[in-house]
């Protein structure tokens, strides 16, 4: 998972940019165009949904961390001041 979200955001963006530059620069065949437009619409829908969704996995992982830090705390060197 890790940085998956960022990666998919940036991939979606660069794929969209590619699609735009392709259809803006070349004489696109109509069949290809329809495929590209469909793909662009899909990417945009995906990203916009993502901006509006929480990552349940992260939430879960984080609640585990929260529990974890309580027990891990004393092992940390810097934690004596805390």
């Amino acid at each position: 998972m890790s940085k998956g979200k960022q990666i998919s955001y940036s991939r979606a963006l660069s794929e969209l940019e590619k699609i735009v530059s392709e259809i803006e620069s070349e004489e696109t065949d109509l069949d290809v165009l329809s495929e590209k437009v469909k793909r662009a619409a899909h990417l945009i829908k995906f990203c916009r949904a993502r901006l509006r969704s929480t990552e349940e996995e992260v939430k879960k992982a984080l609640s585990e961390i929260e529990e974890g830090t309580v027990s891990e705390g004393p092992q940390e060197e810097e934690s004596d001041g805390y």
Partner: protein, 435 residues
């Protein structure tokens, strides 16, 4: 002071202390200014403030003395100092104090603090801060965090704050109630944000986040609401160095009007307040969305243009195709109408010819009508009911009947004469079809 007799060669303790007290007040008749570092500071319930002042050289204490700020002075001096220096008096702070050197017979030597010069402390703090900044620069880590790229979509924030700070509430309310419906994941890593423990507490929170850095896009350090004092903890070398070297972009919203703290300076992005940090994150998502929506518009526009072009081309084709049957039918119509007019004119001609011919025949027929012939003076003669064409068949006294144009005559033959052949032929021509 009383001088005893020779056999009494000592002071009582009270006598001694009285002498000391007197000597000190001779040397320090009024107040004087002294620069020192606060090593300890305690206030009791009555509001009196007891301090331990030290002077250090290379971390070694070379001088130490007790000092007191009486309650009635402390309230006034403390407020004044906080307002000017933006800090409360606390251990570790270097101060310039106007003191009366006092000696009490019971409590001993002490400094009675009558005034504090905040400018000195400010200068000292500024000097310390400069030293910290110089050190960070020298170590090359001052711009380290700033050199990290901001995440494309800063959607997951690790938050360092006091859980009860008003600023923390402002932050997540702003974030969670954003206009666009974006969802953020923000997790609090609680820390003490002021006082002695703050620096270590913040460092500890950073270390915990560092272990889970894969789960986050940014670190947010916020503080605020309430007092604007005690920012000293954000000027420490240790905390600034941890923040500078942090692998995720650090965004601060420490909430103060004064000069930036060192943590603000090393942070990737410094915002004024926690609310502003939330807005900054929201704007990050907004800008991403606007970016992709802009691309979407370009896709649709371009696709629309291509489709239109294609349709025009198609329409033009259709137009041309639709003319083909028209043209074909036009050709046929032309040919047809040619044929028709040809036919018509031919028919008219034929009819005219026919009519002409019929007219001629009719004319001829009229001429041949026996009545017409009789009217012109010819007559028909019969013998025994038969039309008489040859006189040779008659005998003398034979009865013949002659039909005239008007009326009939019955006669008796007296004589007869036969005609020549040429005369006969003439008669045939003159009277065709009378048989």
């Amino acid at each position: 002071m009383e001088k005893n007799s020779a056999e009494k060669a000592y002071f009582t303790l009270f006598e001694l202390n009285t002498v000391i007290k007197s000597a000190i007040s001779d040397v320090f008749p009024g107040a004087c200014w002294v620069a020192a570092e606060i090593a300890e500071l305690k206030c009791n319930q009555k509001g009196h403030c007891y301090l331990e002042l030290v002077e250090k050289e290379d971390e070694k204490t070379i001088a130490q003395i007790k000092a007191t700020i009486w309650a009635y002075e402390y309230r006034k001096l403390g407020d004044k100092f906080e307002k000017s220096a933006g800090e409360t008096l606390k251990p570790g702070m270097r101060v310039l104090l106007r003191v009366e050197v006092t000696f009490h017979e019971v409590y001993g030597l002490s400094l009675n603090i009558r005034d504090i010069d905040p400018a000195y402390t400010l200068g000292e703090m500024a000097r310390k801060k400069r030293e910290v900044i110089d050190r960070l620069r020298k170590e090359g880590i001052m711009g380290l965090n700033k050199s990290l790229p901001l995440p494309l979509v800063p959607q997951r924030a690790a938050v360092i704050s006091s859980p009860t700070a008003a600023g923390y509430g402002d932050f997540f309310k702003q974030l969670d109630n954003n206009l666009y419906g974006y969802k953020f994941t923000h997790v609090l890593f609680p820390a003490v944000m002021q006082g002695q423990e703050a620096e270590n507490s913040i460092i500890s929170a950073l270390s915990r986040i560092r272990k889970e850095k894969e789960l986050f896009d940014v670190v947010v350090i916020i503080r605020g609401g309430g007092s604007v004092i005690d920012l000293n903890c954000f000027d420490g070398y240790e905390v600034a160095s941890h923040a500078a070297k942090f692998p995720l972009p650090v965004i601060t919203g420490i909430g103060h009007e004064k000069d930036d703290t060192v943590v603000d300076m090393v942070a990737h992005t410094k915002m004024k307040t926690p609310t502003a940090v939330a807005e900054f994150l929201i704007s990050g998502l907004r800008s991403y969305e606007e970016n992709i929506m802009g691309l979407r518009d370009r896709v649709y526009k371009e696709a629309g243009r291509l489709l239109r072009d294609e349709r025009y081309r198609f329409d033009a084709l259709i137009h041309r195709v639709s003319y083909i049957p028209l043209r074909i039918s036009a050709v046929h119509t032309n040919r047809l109408s040619a044929v028709r007019s040809d036919l018509e004119s031919r028919a008219v001609r034929i009819l005219a010819e026919e009519e002409h011919r019929t007219g001629a025949i009719e004319q001829a027929m009229k001429h041949l009508d026996p009545a017409n012939v009789l009217r012109r003076g010819y007559s028909i003669t019969r013998h025994k009911g038969k039309v008489l064409k040859n006189a040779a068949v008659l005998k003398k006294w034979a009865v013949i009947e002659t039909k005239l144009s008007s009326g009939e005559v019955t006669s008796i033959v007296q004589d007869r004469k036969e005609t020549t052949k040429s005369e006969q032929r003439q008669t045939d021509i003159l009277l065709p079809g009378l048989e």
